[in-house]
């Protein structure tokens, strides 16, 4: 015999579940089920159009022996190693500059944030011309700047020489850091002013004030942005895809993990099972890096409320 209060509790729970059911159904149908299926497909030979053929761990073994897999892995790691620290430092630096109450600051803030509104494909098309080796504005601009110094600068062939592909892409990634800047800016404005005042009274230099007040106070936000940057770097796709006209660059220099995964899933055969195996490895890498970042962050991240 269930007493009245228990009945009420069950009814409330059911009502609650009913209200969140759209999310539960969405989660099960569009995330949990596809993830489960992709794990299964990663152990099959599956071309979308034919029945999956069970192959066990063969796809994972084949990836180990696939030189293109290691090439895209290397490209993605190098891109992450360059773009994450540079992007974090640049975004934080810009946020510090934009945190000053000077005339026209709104214009500067808008200018920094504006690139995030530009669709990635359109941005890539514009950068394709900016980086043109012969008449691109990047080379022309540097050439014009160096000419008065007596330096005749030719400029690299950014998108046609394998060695210059990665720097070009990292520069583009720096152009698109507006969202991180805004998040840093919001965090900076939340740092209590009395801490700065106390620092000033103690005679702290601006650098010490940054390291001992600003950085600890916004460290949770830095952690958040770094994790987002890790995920973004591992999923880089649209810009290099368009810049290289879907090819992946000279000698696969701009061929990244997600692009190769996509090619396997929809182009090469297609090899959806192989692509699913790649997707699971990618997920494990991102989860591993995120977990490692959290572990390391324990030493450096300061939660003011704690």
């Amino acid at each position: 015999m269930i007493d009245r209060s228990a009945q009420l509790e069950i009814r409330r729970t059911l009502r609650g579940l009913l209200w969140v059911s759209p999310w539960i159904v969405g989660f099960l149908a569009f995330l949990a089920l596809p993830m489960g299926l992709s794990l299964y497909y990663s152990m099959t030979d599956y071309s979308i159009l034919e029945r999956p053929l069970w192959v066990g761990l063969e796809n994972y073994r084949a990836l180990w022996d696939d030189p293109t897999f290691w090439k895209v892995m290397r490209n993605t790691v190098v891109y992450a190693l360059l773009s994450i620290p540079l992007g974090t430092a640049t975004a934080l630096g810009l946020a510090l500059l934009l945190n000053h109450d000077v005339r026209g600051i709104g214009v500067f803030r808008t200018a920094v944030f504006l690139p995030t509104f530009v669709p990635l494909v359109a941005a890539a098309m514009v950068w394709m011309w900016l980086f043109n080796g012969d008449f691109g504005l990047v080379n022309q601009g540097v050439r014009a700047a160096l000419r008065p110094l007596g330096v005749e600068f030719r400029g690299p062939n950014w998108l046609d020489e394998a060695a210059w592909n990665m720097p070009a892409l990292v520069i583009i990634s720096l152009w698109m850091i507006g969202r991180a800047v805004v998040i840093y800016l919001a965090a900076l404005q939340g740092v209590p002013r009395e801490l700065y005042e106390a620092g000033s009274i103690d005679g702290m230099s601006p650098a010490r004030r940054f390291w001992h007040v600003t950085a600890p106070m916004i460290s949770p936000v830095i952690l958040f942005n770094v994790i987002i940057a890790i995920i973004d770097a591992w999923q880089v796709f649209a810009v290099p895809y368009v810049l290289t006209r879907t090819i992946g660059g000279p000698d696969k220099a701009m061929y990244f993990y997600t692009h190769y995964l996509y090619d396997n899933a929809f182009l090469f055969g297609p090899k959806m099972g192989y692509a699913c195996a790649m997707a699971w490895i990618q997920l494990m890498i991102i989860l591993g890096l995120t977990a490692a970042t959290f572990v390391v962050s324990k030493r450096y991240v300061h939660y003011a409320a704690a």
Binding site: L49, N157, Y255, F268, G269
Partner: protein, 457 residues
């Protein structure tokens, strides 16, 4: 206090009214001005969804055919949809059990769709409709065939050839009516046509292998090579003929400077549909291209004096009666699982009428895939060298993209590895050996899985 509450709730009521009013106005506007769901002509008819890859004037040409078909009878209504990445979308639609009724693929897509039985085999229906193999030019017959069946019909086809700037020929003292026929002559002409300014910067390339860069894989065919021995399932990228061909490709950056050529090419690369296209803008004097280039010439530089000829081949295999050239086509097919196969075939048959095929060929500026063309076809055609293209279509040495489902991967290897060959950082034979190895591994994998599937079923 109570006054303020009344004031704020009145303001809230007004806001709600305004919101409801705005939504009602938007709804009415959508009903009045929004997209029409059904064309009145479609009422009471079987509606076919036709997915096609063309855009722009190529799509317009097919839309005219579709409109005429819809007007000429009252049983079937064809809805035309233009889309990118059509092979991927079609594949997913077939797998999901909701395919279009008709799909326009490339002939290079046929192997994967055929081997997975994603299309309906059509040979019986085609023969009954008088569209058997004899209806098409001999090499064209292979384009929609795979695994012993015919999976579609070629609704337009194309070959590639050498296009050149006749004015540049005259300026260089070359006879514009005597284009190069052999690779040796091509090199000679390219040398005579190349120009540079006083500072050593190129102003015109005689010939540039990487313009337009769409067929990086095909140079070996001009030397008698192939990329696949189909009957043995064997990749042949590293054959002696292919190695010789790619050494020839490398001879240009070796002679003119890789960095110089690449930088020069970046001035007009990817500017196909414009006045800045390499040949039209005078940046290159000779280029490899399809007949459809003439549509670009007509649109942007009608005064441009162009010439065209079969692409030169190594002198030892030169035969004026049997030109060498790539042949490909668009293939109209009926996906597996379509709800209206009979009606879809009726439209497909309509597109194969000679007048319709030739109308499309003229609009797309391509040769005819049919065995016989009407007497006025060449006269109506905007490309004055269309008979030369027709000659390649009918040539016993016309070659097709290798008929294998691994072709996208094979092609990508060429597209990515052309750069280290071009900048001379890798030897042609090493690159080709690597491509062959990769392609062979994939061919073996696919064959093994096909055998396992056959065994399992």
């Amino acid at each position: 206090m109570s006054e303020r509450t009344d004031e704020s709730s009145r303001a809230w009521v007004m806001t709600r009214r305004a919101a409801v009013g705005a939504m009602a106005a938007a709804g009415l506007g959508f009903v009045a001005l929004g997209p029409r769901g059904v064309d009145p002509r479609a009422r009471g008819r079987v509606v076919l969804n036709y997915w096609e890859k063309w855009t722009g004037q190529e799509a317009d040409a097919m839309r005219r055919v579709v409109d005429r078909f819809n007007d000429e009878q009252d049983r079937i209504y064809v809805k035309y949809f233009s889309m990118s990445f059509i092979e991927q979308k079609s594949m997913i639609a077939v797998a999901a059990g909701d395919p279009p009724d008709l799909v326009g693929l490339g002939s290079w897509d046929v192997p994967i769709f055929a081997e997975t039985r994603a299309l309906m085999p059509l040979e019986d229906r085609l023969s009954a409709a008088g569209l058997g193999p004899a209806y098409y030019a001999p090499p064209v017959r292979q384009l929609a065939r795979h695994d012993g069946h015919t999976w579609g019909v070629p609704n337009t086809c194309s070959t590639i050839a050498l296009y050149y700037n006749r004015a540049a020929f005259r300026e260089a003292g070359l006879d514009p009516d005597r284009p190069p026929r052999t690779i040796e002559e091509l090199d000679e002409y390219a040398g005579a046509l190349t120009r540079e300014d006083a500072s050593g910067r190129l102003t015109r390339a005689g010939f540039l292998h990487r313009e337009p860069g769409w067929w990086n894989w095909h140079w070996g065919y001009s030397f008698g090579g192939t990329l696949l021995r189909e009957e043995e399932n064997r990749a042949t990228a590293a054959s002696a003929e292919n190695v010789e061909a790619y050494r020839w490709v490398q001879s240009y950056p070796a002679k003119y400077g890789a960095e110089r050529l690449t930088r020069f090419h970046s001035q007009f690369r990817d500017l196909y549909n414009s006045r800045q296209q390499g040949l039209i803008s005078g940046k290159v004097a000779m280029t490899i291209h399809g007949p459809f280039l003439v549509n670009v010439i007509r649109a942007f530089a009608p005064e441009f004096d162009y010439g065209a000829a079969p692409f030169p081949v190594r002198s030892s295999i030169y035969d004026p009666g049997a030109p060498v050239g790539m042949l490909e086509s668009d293939v109209l097919a009926i996906p597996r699982g379509t709800r209206h196969p009979e009606e879809a075939f009726e439209f497909l048959r309509y597109t194969q009428r000679r007048d319709v095929v030739e109308e499309m060929a003229v609009a797309h500026c391509k040769p005819s895939p049919l065995a016989e063309t009407s007497p006025t076809f060449a006269a109506r055609h905007p490309n004055r060298y269309i008979e030369m293209h027709n000659g390649i279509v009918r040539s016993p040495r016309a070659f097709l993209v290798p008929r294998t489902r691994i072709w996208p991967l094979y092609k990508k290897e060429f597209d990515t590895k052309i750069a280290p060959m071009w900048d001379l950082s890798e030897r042609a034979e090493d690159v080709l050996a690597g491509i062959e190895r990769r392609a062979q591994e994939e061919l073996d994998r696919v064959a093994e899985k096909r055998a396992l599937r056959a065994k399992a079923s």
